[in-house]
């Protein structure tokens, strides 16, 4: 089934236009209604549980290989063998999978989602749950006992990511916390406060992106570390991963990976001083090995050293009043 057909199926069951915006809005309205039956001040984790309950999704989170194997074996012995065939894929980049129980008892939830929270995947576990709950919400055909092969799968999975996050990172406590973060400045510290107060289960990356989406802001979460390039074999601080908010992605705003971080950037300052740093900078200072720059774009950067790298939040201009200027 193509992306367009899946979108049309979702729109039909939601009673809305066949556009991504309309389907997202309708999903969110339905999520608000479902959560509202429980309470009007639910935290994101409670919203997730309310939605999982409504769509009959049971979560199993595996933080060790033994736990993963135990979940898979137990379900297989009950006749639900789907995950047993996915075991090898979990050793690659598979983060989560959801199956429909073949013969649920009266008291069983219909769907089972297995979340791989081993190692580096642990930080994505909460977001994976929001994603998996969004599938039965968006795809009425999942009630049938078949699995379709989706063309343009990446595009649909990105859409499911957006819907899942919008459904869960919502509600009054979330909105209040995010508005406060906006007043305090969209920094790592303000996002840590949001996480601590309303969503401790989620990763900082998920919080920052969800907050940006709630505010309708373009934002990038970047991870920097020492790396080399073909032109420069000596390790230098470079952008390793870039994750844009929905607005940034829709605007096709772009930060290249493996780009060398200039010494004037708060990212470099945080890396060398091992202390948080933030400030305005211009992408004109970012130059590649041939001297070409990323253009005359102002950005606000908030950086925090983590393990052997630096986590950064980058917000495009308008420029913000700096709390600390890079030297």
């Amino acid at each position: 089934m193509t992306f367009r057909k899946k979108l049309a199926a979702a729109a039909e069951q939601l009673g809305c236009e066949v556009t991504q915006d309309a389907v997202r809005r309708a999903c969110r309205q339905r999520a608000d209604s479902i959560c509202g039956e429980i309470g009007h001040d639910l935290l994101p984790a409670e919203r997730l549980e309310a939605l999982a309950n409504h769509f009959s999704v049971e979560f199993h989170v595996a933080d060790t290989s033994q736990a993963l194997d135990a979940h898979i074996s137990r379900l297989a012995r009950q006749g639900d063998t789907g995950f047993a065939l996915r075991r090898q894929r979990f050793e690659q980049e598979l983060l989560a999978a959801i199956l429909r129980r073949r013969e649920p008892s009266a008291s069983d939830r219909r769907f089972v989602a297995l979340i791989d929270a081993r190692g580096h995947k642990k930080h994505m576990a909460f977001f994976s749950k929001t994603h998996e709950v969004a599938h039965p919400a968006l795809e009425p055909q999942l009630q049938f006992e078949f699995r379709d092969e989706t063309k343009r799968r990446d595009e649909w999975e990105r859409f499911v990511d957006q819907v899942g996050a919008a459904n869960v990172f919502a509600g009054e406590p979330w909105d209040l916390a995010v508005r406060q973060a906006a007043k305090d400045g969209l920094t790592i510290h303000s996002f840590e406060t949001v996480r601590r107060n309303v969503a401790p289960e989620a990763s900082l990356t998920a919080i920052a992106l969800a907050a940006a989406n709630t505010l309708g802001r373009a934002l990038f979460v970047v991870w920097s570390g020492l790396a080399t390039s073909r032109a420069n074999p000596k390790p230098a601080l470079r952008i390793l991963t870039v994750t844009p908010s929905d607005i940034a992605a829709d605007a096709k705003a772009f930060l290249p990976t493996n780009f060398r971080v200039p010494s004037t950037s708060p990212l470099a300052i945080a890396f060398s001083t091992k202390a948080d740093a933030s400030g305005n900078e211009s992408l004109q200072e970012w130059r590649d090995s041939k001297g070409a720059t990323l253009g005359e774009h102002g950005i606000w950067t908030s950086a925090s050293p983590r393990n052997d790298g630096v986590l950064g939040i980058i917000v495009p201009a308008p420029a913000r009043r700096p709390t600390r200027r890079p030297r």
Binding site: G82, S107, D108
Partner: protein
């Protein structure tokens, strides 16, 4: 378990069915053991939020806890279309029809994933590998 049973006894029966003590259920649902006991005896009504936590801890839905509602069952496929690659694998390995359909159903049971490389249509060898992975579950 019938719909005529009330919430408290349903909670108790499900708790026992999945092997939880009242203490464990209390911990998972973030309520006191005394509260669990009173709910199971029908002496207290949990709030919506508490009910949600209880349902989650019992791996069931609030609908079932409150009303003993059976889950909707999807419309079963009338015909099982076996891909030609699986047919070839079944022929090579001498698989029974039941075993062949079991492998196909297991493959299709996962309805969505997050992350992971896109899958291609399995080859006969890949279908055979799947059968070998599942053999102990299919053949008991």
């Amino acid at each position: 378990m019938s719909a005529e049973q009330s919430t408290g006894p349903r909670i108790r029966q499900r708790r026992i069915e999945i092997g939880l003590t009242q203490q464990t259920l209390a911990q998972l649902a973030d309520i006191s053991v005394g509260f669990v006991s009173e709910i199971e005896k029908g002496k207290r009504n949990p709030s919506g939020r508490v009910l949600l936590r209880i349902a989650s801890a019992l791996r069931t839905t609030t609908d079932w806890v409150l009303r003993g509602v059976e889950p909707e069952r999807g419309v079963a496929s009338q015909h099982v279309l076996i891909p030609p690659e699986l047919s070839e694998a079944a022929r090579q390995a001498g698989l029974s029809y039941t075993a062949t359909v079991s492998v196909l159903k297991a493959y299709r049971q996962v309805v969505a994933e997050r992350g992971g490389e896109p899958e291609h249509a399995p080859s006969p060898d890949e279908w055979l590998d799947m059968y070998r992975t599942l053999r102990r579950y299919i053949e008991g």
